[in-house]
């Protein structure tokens, strides 16, 4: 065996971060938490160059080019192999021929926890959540697209809005920031209650997307007139839509709850490129008489701001990951621990009706903007929550995506109709256009 003295360029294995331990545990046979980011380019994607770009980023994103491995107390991450001579990796780069957000291959494979797909002018990266969260995956696809465009002959300045791909990954990027932020004596987080569940008939293996493309100017003017942020406005409209669908009488005592994931990087000043987000819940008890949008906005005013303060986020974080820091929990074999983690993950899903994750505006260098039409983000549906929504913007338009494994479009319909009633222009696109997909 060859013996090398120099420090290895990348660790031979990596611990999962605190949130990352949840996702391998909650996976089922047919599902795992896989989400997608995509960029629509102006020209069709060249697969050979794309593969080159993917291979070239192997050293820069060591947390992504990994696969899960079973340990006795915890699963952990192991780097995928790379051909020493050609630099080729085993990342799957292929043309899209299935519904988005299919489950990722995990354990016992050389493929990493993400795959790169292309279809005509769409370049998509689908990532398993244990590797990183949305914010970090967005950084990856930005860098990947930049590298791809560079190989395509476009001059792109490294750094700035992009991660510098010529430097080594820093300690901070690889850090488990949950652990760094954890405090023993944090204030308790508010108690979670089971929320209203919208459960249209599920179609296993199906995946319906509805993209609502909305001009930023329209929605900005509207939210400004109410004196709230765009996210708050979208959450309010979501509540309006949830009110309008016929609610299940049996669940009338449960509140309607929207979960809003929050990236903690800004709040705690972390540069982690792995999981580092938490969520805040915004609840509203349904009333016999439907509220108007104004009434909803009044009821919600300040709730989101209140939910994302540093103190509140630290409390949530400590409540969610605190157990993982305790020695008696850590020394239980993973086989047993997994069952507990799985159930707590499932319970956590029951505490919200739907999710709105807002990735905000994607900042790209000018030279890249000219080659990109718009970004997309898609969340997978989960075994319990049939509808998820995600928002991303390029500064001109907002791409609001509904996704779920059901034909039902009632919430999307009510949401978009509510927006149109407010005078906001909307364009709708979908991935299912066949006769049998008709709602």
């Amino acid at each position: 065996m060859k013996k090398t003295k120099e420090k290895p360029l990348r660790p031979s294995w990596m611990k999962l971060d605190s949130a990352g331990t949840l996702y391998p545990a909650t996976r089922t046979r047919s599902w795992n938490a896989t989400f997608r980011f995509a960029f629509l380019l102006k020209e069709d994607v060249n697969p050979a160059l794309l593969k080159q770009a993917v291979d070239a980023l192997y050293d820069r994103f060591p947390w992504l080019y990994t696969q899960l491995e079973n340990g006795f107390f915890w699963s952990y991450l192991r780097p995928i192999p790379r051909n020493k001579n050609t630099g080729e990796t085993s990342v799957l780069v292929c043309e899209e021929n299935d519904y988005p957000c299919r489950k990722t291959r995990l354990f016992h494979t050389d493929e990493p926890m993400f795959r790169v797909l292309y279809y005509k002018n769409r370049l998509a990266v689908e990532t398993f959540h244990a590797a990183c969260d949305g914010g970090a995956a967005l950084e990856y696809i930005k860098t990947l697209t930049a590298k791809y465009l560079q190989l395509n002959g476009v001059a792109i300045e490294n750094g700035g809005e992009l991660l510098d791909w010529d430097v080594d990954p820093s300690e901070g990027e690889l850090q488990n920031s949950y652990h760094a932020v954890y405090r023993k004596n944090a204030s308790p987080a508010p108690k979670k209650v089971v929320s209203y569940q919208h459960r249209p008939p599920q179609m296993r293996g199906y995946f319906k997307l509805i993209h609502a493309i909305i001009p930023v100017a329209d929605i900005k003017a509207k939210s400004k007139s109410y004196g709230i942020s765009i996210t708050e406005y979208l959450v309010a409209v979501m509540f309006l839509a949830l009110q309008r669908i016929p609610l299940d009488r049996k669940q009338r005592h449960h509140p309607l709850t929207v979960r809003v994931p929050v990236s903690l990087r800004g709040i705690f000043g972390s540069e982690s490129q792995r999981n580092f987000s938490m969520f805040t819940h915004i609840s509203l008890q349904p009333t016999p008489i439907r509220r108007t949008l104004d009434a909803i906005i009044e009821a919600l005013r300040g709730k989101l701001q209140e939910g994302i303060t540093e103190e509140r986020m630290r409390a949530e974080l400590c409540a969610n990951t605190g157990l993982l820091e305790k020695l008696p929990v850590r020394i239980v074999p993973y086989l047993l621990k997994r069952q507990v983690v799985k159930r707590s993950g499932y319970f956590s899903e029951l505490t919200s009706t739907t999710v709105i994750t807002n990735l905000g505006i994607v900042k790209l260098p000018k030279s890249m903007q000219e080659h990109i039409l718009r970004p997309e983000v898609i969340l997978c549906s989960t075994p319990f929550r049939r509808l998820q929504t995600a928002v991303i913007s390029d500064g001109n338009i907002i791409n609001f995506t509904f996704s779920g494994d059901s034909k039902d479009t009632s919430i999307a319909k009510e949401f978009i109709r509510a927006l149109s009633e407010e005078g906001i222009r909307v364009r709708v696109e979908t991935n299912c256009q066949g006769e049998e997909d008709r709602p």
Binding site: E69, N97, R417, S420, R425, R427, C432
Partner: protein, 227 residues
């Protein structure tokens, strides 16, 4: 194209409104300059139901249990032989293809189940006072199977260089099973040399790996057993 019911623009090649399923009118879009981005056209096919893990993990011990009971009551060596060959068939048909599919002996647990079912057979036969035939065969069979597993693991570790150290925890499992077997034998039978072998083989394999590259071995150990 537009849907007037929903008051939204809809892409060019849509036959109906994606939201309400209603018809479209051929009006110019309100939002100009947006390019349509199609997805591959797919037809939904209901996925075939896959046998669940529970099913797989339950039926082998069940077969063994029923088989051993039948063997005990019938007191027949033929039935015992039949159970054993039935198990062998199961192993060939189900367990082996799985462990072959995943190179890393990933479903090592599944293969171990086979060994465990043999152990169950032995223990149930013993507690029922049936010492002949089955018990003797299985009493020798279990350690031999473990020994074969240890040898297979070791050769696989030596052949696949990049994965050499990943077998560490599997060897540990073998070691533990071997030790459990010795305790079991000590409690119920006299120790015979065969029961020592699996533990010795697993231990030897671990020592060989350790000597080959102590640092990598330590790293592997840390990865596998970090808490």
């Amino acid at each position: 194209m537009r849907c007037n019911a929903c008051n939204v623009d809809v892409g060019e090649n849509h036959k109906y409104c994606p939201l309400c399923g209603g018809g479209l009118t051929d009006e110019p879009p309100v939002l100009q300059g947006l390019t349509q981005a199609p997805y591959p056209a797919l037809r939904y096919k209901k996925p075939k139901p896959t046998p669940t893990a529970i099913f797989f993990f339950c039926w082998i011990p069940l077969v063994v249990f029923i088989g051993s009971q039948v063997a005990f009551y019938a007191g027949s060596h033929y039935i015992t032989l039949l159970t054993a060959s039935g198990l062998l068939c199961l192993w060939t048909a189900v367990v082996r293809p799985i462990s072959k599919k995943y190179l890393h002996l990933s479903n090592f647990a599944a293969s171990n189940l086979f060994t465990f079912s043999f152990l169950a057979l032995v223990s149930s036969c013993y507690s029922l006072g049936f010492k002949a035939g089955v018990a003797r065969f299985a009493g020798f069979g279990a350690p031999i199977l473990l020994l074969i597993a240890a040898a297979a693991l070791f050769s696989a570790a030596m052949l696949t260089r990049s994965r050499r150290y990943r077998f560490v925890s599997d060897f540990f499992v073998l070691l533990l099973i071997g030790i459990a077997l010795i305790i079991f034998k000590r409690l119920f039978w006299d120790i015979d040399w065969l029961t020592f072998m699996p533990s010795c083989a697993a231990l030897a394999a671990l020592v060989v790996l350790l000597l080959m590259n102590p640092r990598a071995f330590a790293e592997e150990l840390h990865a596998r057993f970090h808490f």
